[in-house]
């Protein structure tokens, strides 16, 4: 297959990863809302939902990262473990949950940054 075709398919795949990160960001927004509710109101239902949403967000990012590695060189990444329900009773629960969400978000941000750089390399700015 020609180099041009390879390039345009790769570019398409890079754009797709950006798109999927966009979808994951919607998950993150929902997660942030729920975390905030769980922290401020403290309902068990919100706490459980926050954990489910965090696990789903983490899984989405892990899938995206696996595909990301097909296109961009990188090392396998250790995703932060999603805290368990009992950890809401820890004295620093809010910090633990926020830190995990922030860490996941920063992985997504870093991926997006690298993708954008790669895309910019493929299509030089005029």
């Amino acid at each position: 297959m020609s180099h041009d075709l390879y390039n345009s398919l790769c570019q398409e795949m890079l754009l797709d990863l950006c798109y999927r990160l966009g979808l994951a960001e919607e998950q993150f927004c929902l997660l942030s809302d729920t975390l905030l509710a769980a922290m401020s109101i403290g309902e068990l239902e919100d706490k459980q939902k926050a954990i489910e949403l965090m696990a789903a967000y983490s899984q989405s990012l892990q899938i995206i990262y696996a595909d990301f590695l097909l296109l961009i060189e990188g090392q396998s990444l250790l995703f932060p473990p999603v805290p368990a329900l009992w950890q809401w009773n820890e004295p620093r629960a809010e910090e633990i949950f926020s830190a995990t969400a922030e860490k996941l978000y920063s992985i997504a941000e870093a991926m997006e940054c690298k993708l954008r750089i790669k895309l910019a390399e493929k299509e030089p700015r005029t």
Partner: protein
Amino acid sequence: MNKMRFGALLLNAKNQLGLYLSHRVVLALPEDGCPQALSQAEFAANRVFAFQAVAYPFAESLLKALQSKQIFHNNKETTKFLLDLPENVKGNDLYMHIKQKYNVELEDFSIRVPKSDKKTNPEQWSRHMQDYDYQNEFLKKFEAEKKLYKRPNILVCGYTGSGKTSLIQAMLGEDLVPSEAIGVGQPKTMGYDCYENNMVRIFDSRGLELGETEEEFLDQTKSFLRERQADLNNVDEHIHLVWYTIQGSGARVTKCDLELIKNIFSEQNVLIAFTKADLMRNSQRESMKQVLLEAGIDTDRIFFTSDIEGGSQGCMELMHKSLEMLPEAYKDAFIEAQRLALELRIRAVYDKAKKAKSIIATATAAAGGIGATPIPLSDAALLIPIQVTMIASLAALYGLREEAVKQAALPFLAKVAGIFAATSLLKLLPVLGSAVNAAVAASITGAMGLYVKNNFEQYALAKVKGEPTPEFSFNAELFKQFFNEYEKKSLN
């Protein structure tokens, strides 16, 4: 979770197979001929093989094929290579073969349109922007945001001349109570005066005046409380704390005092302050305290305060206890309102940084969404509504007053809007090129957020320290530094 990844094997209603390449393109594998790139709409996939199991090997094969420069002459060769099929498999058996080989089932499948795509129609936004009144929008959002910051309602109650107004001034500053509310030898408060600012609302109760009986005083206080607490769902209107004042010098604890403290106010929200305590003898203090203790009032809710030259006595203890007793949601505002512990107020300003960060992060994510489809530089002003919301939220967070908003924040916002005109932005940040993409849109917004946060924090600190507040000026060089730092941070 999104059921899509490179190489996911899709099937449409006509039982055609295709490989997921992106949210826009499917590599269709027709019976005859080479793989064809079709749009998702053209291919119209409605089912997918369990994506986790099969997608990865297909994607790897696909990339290997692309890199190998191998030429496939027809579909048979391509599918054989991509799907690792045995020679004898026919087109119609593909489904069964994959099902057996990978032990997977077909699942329903659809491509989702991200919400952010709805926002990224530059034409529509450009039209919208022509009518966008950023000043009005800012004021609307600022007002709405302000309501989110709860302020406590404190009732200051006691006989006329018991030092209620002086106590308020000692605790919350002289500027809260108008000077005409203070007089000598006259009842200083008529009815329930309400003094308020952004941080606290004080109800200064009517004292027991000449010609009025204690019963009338009790009834009036009771009905005031009933009125305030009437709406059970609106706790922001309830009285959250009561400072009950008893004049220390020459007075006594009356039955009416005890009735109010014990039976009309709740035990959880009343603190008793003996005012003018510097004029009390020790024995007098002890005996008055004893009366309250005997009535079952805890000793840690009794304070002796005085407003003497060189500072108020006993008020600091009253402030700390008040803070302890206030519901959690109202504590921040009270810390800002009190005028006794400067270090607490300074710390409260710095503590806002975390919340500020989350406001900036939200705006940054939204800006990234707008830039998900690169927008021409001339449309960079699309980001302004997001930034208006962000600046309004930060202004409310740092407790900017109305006048500060009108005098300083709005001209500042005009400057921000100005730099988003394409030429100014390009001049300011020549790294932009001709279009703003998600990362750049996010960086501009993030840097703007940090820059504004820095300004507002300085403003709030100056207010707390009683220093002249700095002017909000737009320093292009400083903003550039913030932008570069933000970009560097994102890349790492």
